[in-house]
């Protein structure tokens, strides 16, 4: 099996689906001739031509708005927003139009598209190249949100996202675009949406996380193991609709849970995860559910490594929760 990084795996999935399904078009700023700022769409313009790999002007509202229109009449657009931080000029189109289309048209128009965008910090990008806006989209009924952590999942989840009947936001953690490597099967396969992965089994507490922070959580869990604390680490993979069953099953076993995410703590997805755990397995809890998150501040330039919930911030919480 070929070794790939996340960028190559996503590129592979796009190519495969474009060959298989001629409804698929890719559009965005510099996605064509240049192949995208992170090179995720490299080579597609040469292979599929300018009608299917469309270089757009700088116009996020226009990109998403026209993609919605294309989807209404039989195309399957995969727009790229260059950085998740630039998605907000298109937020109106996504929230007011895309998310509500199926509902508003009584199911007649599903408006199916997949918005790809890099998210997260760790590249010293400062406020406008680092944010993790998942909860701002999860809060809007009608959207699915996916976030892979490794090349195998990236390809399989993207293919599943494209074939899923609902609009999907596909968030790519840019910090591990090239750092996360692994074997990726050639050809077609999917990784099902809304199915979390238990990445590390453990019996003393549950860690729920996603995106680039998975690797920090694993690092902290391995350090905790040296202190005799065995953490079970769950990678959500699909952030919404999330796989609550896998979380509940784990928490019923461990009785303790720590949620780790990069986005600011307040009203982050961690809040919802904790609320669901309280609703579904409150009597199994032996410690207050805890969250290790980004701060409630804009994403900082200089203090990035303080802001991110890295292993050095996760480990003490694992110990506190395990020993509560």
């Amino acid at each position: 099996m070929p070794q790939m990084n996340m960028v190559q795996a996503i590129n592979d999935a796009l190519r495969l689906e474009m060959k298989r399904d001629d409804r698929v078009v890719v559009l965005g700023e510099d996605v064509g001739k240049v192949g995208g700022v992170f090179r995720v769409t490299a080579g597609l313009y040469d292979e599929f031509g300018e009608d299917r790999v469309i270089d757009t002007p700088l116009s996020e509202g226009g990109i998403i708005g026209t993609a919605i229109g294309m989807a209404l009449y039989g195309l399957l657009p995969i727009p790229e927003i260059q950085f998740g931080d630039f998605i907000f000029p298109a937020y109106d189109q996504i929230v007011s139009e895309l998310a509500k289309f199926r509902y508003r048209s009584g199911g007649e128009y599903p408006s199916k598209l997949v918005i790809r965008t890099p998210v997260g910090g760790g590249i010293r990008g400062g406020h406008y190249h680092s944010q993790s806006p998942e909860s701002q989209f999860i809060h809007v009924a009608g959207l699915k949100v996916v976030c892979p952590t490794n090349p195998y999942d990236a390809k399989g989840l993207l293919l599943a996202s494209i074939r899923d009947p609902d609009p999907v936001l596909f968030f790519e953690p840019k910090r591990i675009y090239r750092a996360a490597k692994g074997e990726v099967p050639e050809g077609d396969y999917t990784v099902p949406l809304s199915k979390a992965a238990v990445v590390r089994p453990g019996k003393h507490l549950t860690v729920v996380t996603w995106g680039a922070m998975l690797y920090e959580a694993l690092d902290a869990a391995n350090q905790a193991a040296q202190k005799g604390i065995e953490a079970e680490v769950i990678d959500l993979r699909t952030l919404w609709p999330l796989d609550i069953d896998t979380i509940v099953e784990s928490v019923k076993k461990t009785g303790r849970v720590v949620v780790v995410h990069e986005a600011p703590k307040t009203c982050g997805l961690g809040s919802e995860v904790v609320a669901l755990i309280n609703e579904k397995c409150f009597l199994h809890l032996e410690a207050p559910p805890a969250r290790v998150c980004g701060f409630d501040t804009p994403f900082p330039y200089t203090l990035e490594m303080e802001y991110l919930p890295l292993a050095h911030r996760i480990l003490p919480q694992l110990v506190t929760t395990a020993q509560f």
Binding site: E29, D30, K33, V34, V37, D55, P57, L58, S59, E60, G61, G62, D85, F86, F88, P89, I123, R124, G125, G126, H127, Y128, H129, T266, F295, D296, T297, P298, P300, Y301, T302, L303, E306, Y307
Partner: protein
């Protein structure tokens, strides 16, 4: 040796050359520091375009406002921000103009009425119209210069801002620095017209269009628009044709343009042109002395940025909210 007394123009050219050269040298040091990992993230250099910001800002009063994009180091320095504050910010140090929290794209200086760089393309253009509205309301006679690239012309906020500025007759000059590329996309692939200033027509707004090859001409032409803003409270869209010698940012391999194209443009470098004109009147020695002075200032600013302390994490909360908030 006898020297002809300098005309007013030559004095001004010397002053503006000094500003352009300061900006050029500071940014060359930025590029070096970036390569050494001392500056992180995304760094967009103004090298090649200095005559636009310097010429335009020379047409202002000190209390007028400037607001721009992430390509903001030159604008901030031309508006009066010291090189130390710029470099310290880029190095992420506590003595930077935004206490090291922003970095390259966020140069604010309330004292000099520099209203920041902005990372979301087009996001600042309506803000600029609001600033101009406030000046008009307060009757303080101040003019706002709003800088952006031709890439911003394709996003909605640009049009909303021009629409309002024209409707409300605001004292503002919109300066589109057309450097021919929006990242890797040449103008012809992002706009349906070649003359960007025509965008003013739909808003019945005054417009102008010229090349930034001569910094004094930039000053004079922007000066006309500034006068229109100050005296008639009428906005103008000015397209200034220019060229960036470096990549879009430091991480841009720049394969979308040929080395020949860049070399040809470098031969037209407005900074070099200003220097040549001055040498012809003042002699090389005088210019070399000025350059040496600028060299020393730049070295001092770099040293300062290297030695300044990093901001403490305690600063994050008070810079987000005033007062306590739930934890």
């Amino acid at each position: 040796m006898f020297r002809a007394p300098m005309s007013e123009d030559q004095d001004e050219l010397l002053r503006l050359y000094g500003q352009m050269q300061r900006i050029r040298r500071v940014e060359e040091e930025c590029a070096r520091a970036y390569a050494q990992g001392k500056i992180g993230g995304f760094l967009h250099l103004y090298i090649g375009q200095e005559s636009v910001g310097v010429g335009a800002i020379a047409a202002l009063r000190p209390d007028d406002y400037v607001i721009g994009t992430y390509r903001d180091h030159g604008l901030a320095m031309a508006k009066g921000m010291p090189a130390r504050a710029v470099l310290a910010e880029l190095f992420g140090k506590a003595t930077g103009c935004s206490q090291g929290l922003g970095g390259s794209m966020h140069l604010f200086d309330a004292e000099h009425h520099m209203l920041g760089g902005y990372g979301i393309v087009g996001g600042h253009i309506p803000l600029a119209a609001g600033v101009a509205y406030a000046s008009k309301y307060q009757g303080n006679g101040r003019v706002t210069l709003c800088f952006f690239g031709e890439g911003s012309v394709t996003i909605g906020s640009f049009h909303e801002a021009l629409s309002l500025a024209a409707l409300w007759k605001l004292p503002i000059v919109f300066i589109c620095e057309n450097n021919e590329y929006s990242m890797g996309t040449p103008l012809a692939r992002s706009l349906s017209l070649e003359d960007v200033s025509q965008k003013a027509l739909g808003y019945a707004m005054a417009r102008d269009r010229f090349f930034a090859r001569d910094v004094l001409e930039v000053k004079a032409r922007i000066g006309e628009a500034v006068t229109r803003a100050r005296e008639e409270s009428e906005p103008t869209l000015v397209e200034v044709r220019t060229y960036r010698f470096r990549g879009h940012s430091m991480s841009d391999p720049g394969k979308y343009r040929t080395p020949e194209e860049i070399e040809a443009q470098k031969k037209l470098d407005p900074l070099q042109k200003a220097r040549d004109a001055l040498v012809a009147v003042l002699g090389e020695e005088k210019l070399a002395a000025l350059d040496a002075e600028i060299e020393a200032e730049t070295a001092d600013a770099v040293k300062h940025a290297e030695e300044a302390p990093e901001p403490s994490p305690d600063i994050l909360e008070p810079t987000t909210y005033v007062g306590e908030f739930a934890r």
